[in-house]
């Protein structure tokens, strides 16, 4: 039997919805910590230090913060439904940030590079002064499952 693309999407969308938002599975955390890393945490990158007022952002795993997964450009996508703003800096952060992660209980559920919202190119986020707020606009923090 050959499944169509729609069926594939349905499965991937369900997979994403089972992790984030209203229809999350019971074993999924009720909230995540949005953290910043100076390198890919999968490869041992460390989270930024507390200098400059950096602190992780607590994000409730709710339908308010994560809408239902949709297909965007042929890719099953889970995105933030509200802007996620880190606490305003009080000075320079300890290092440039290249990656973010949604973590809970010491487990990183998803992680990816920080990118320029306009170009999509990877970037190093450098906060060098006070009163800087790092923000993921609506739909700019995504978890995707590529379609083969």
């Amino acid at each position: 039997m050959t499944l169509g693309v729609t069926a594939v999407h349905t499965a991937r969308l369900a997979s994403l919805d089972a992790c984030y938002g209203t229809n999350k599975a019971p074993n999924m955390p009720s909230s995540f910590n949005l953290r910043m890393y100076s390198a890919d945490p999968v490869s041992g990158g460390a989270e930024l230090g507390a200098a400059g007022g950096y602190t992780a952002l607590s994000v409730a795993n709710s339908g308010t913060n994560f809408g239902a997964a949709t297909v965007v450009g042929g890719v099953a996508t889970k995105a933030n439904a509200v802007a996620l703003s880190m606490a305003a800096s009080t000075g320079a952060w300890s290092a440039g940030a290249t990656h973010w992660a949604l973590e809970s209980g010491g487990v990183i559920y998803d992680t990816g590079p920080i990118t320029d919202p306009t170009t999509g190119n990877p970037m190093t986020l450098t906060v060098s002064q006070a009163n800087v707020t790092v923000r993921f606009g609506i739909g700019k923090l995504t978890i995707t499952v590529p379609t083969p």
């Binding site: 998803d110 990816g112 990118t115 919202p117 009163n131 800087v132 707020t133 790092v134 993921f136």
Partner: protein, 132 residues
């Protein structure tokens, strides 16, 4: 040999007696009439109430700078009292309104609030070839 004549000791000059004028008698405490206190309290408002609490009379017991300030600005007139002018170093507080917290913006010009928009995608890797 005749005994040496004992020299009389040099007369020690008596300590000069300096006539000092009698120090000016401290002014008699002057009680402020009740009506003046009331007027002062009304004018000064909250701050005045706080200042006046526990020191309603005599005025001589009030802090000099405070009285000088009141006299200088004409808020308070005291018979028989001469408190002069407030010293230039005395910065008169704003006594006509309640004290309010002073919010100071200590930010440097280059520290104006700034929002940096970023994005990020976590692409979940495909696993093997089992699900196609």
């Amino acid at each position: 040999m005749p005994p040496s004549k004992k020299q009389p000791p040099d007369p020690t000059p008596a300590p000069p007696i300096v006539e000092t004028p009698p120090s000016a008698a401290p002014p008699e405490p002057v009680a402020v009439p009740v009506e003046n206190l009331t007027a002062t309290r009304d004018l000064l408002g909250w701050h005045g109430e706080r200042i006046l609490a526990g020191m309603s009379a005599p005025v001589a017991d009030w802090p000099d700078e405070y009285v000088q300030h009141l006299v200088a600005e004409g808020t308070l007139q005291i018979e028989g009292g001469d408190f002069g002018e407030a010293p230039p170093s005395f910065i008169a507080p704003d006594l006509t309104s309640p004290e309010t917290p002073v919010v100071r913006d200590l930010r440097e010009p280059n520290e104006a609030p700034k929002v940096v928009d970023v994005a990020g995608d976590a692409e979940r890797p495909e696993r093997g070839g089992e699900a196609r």
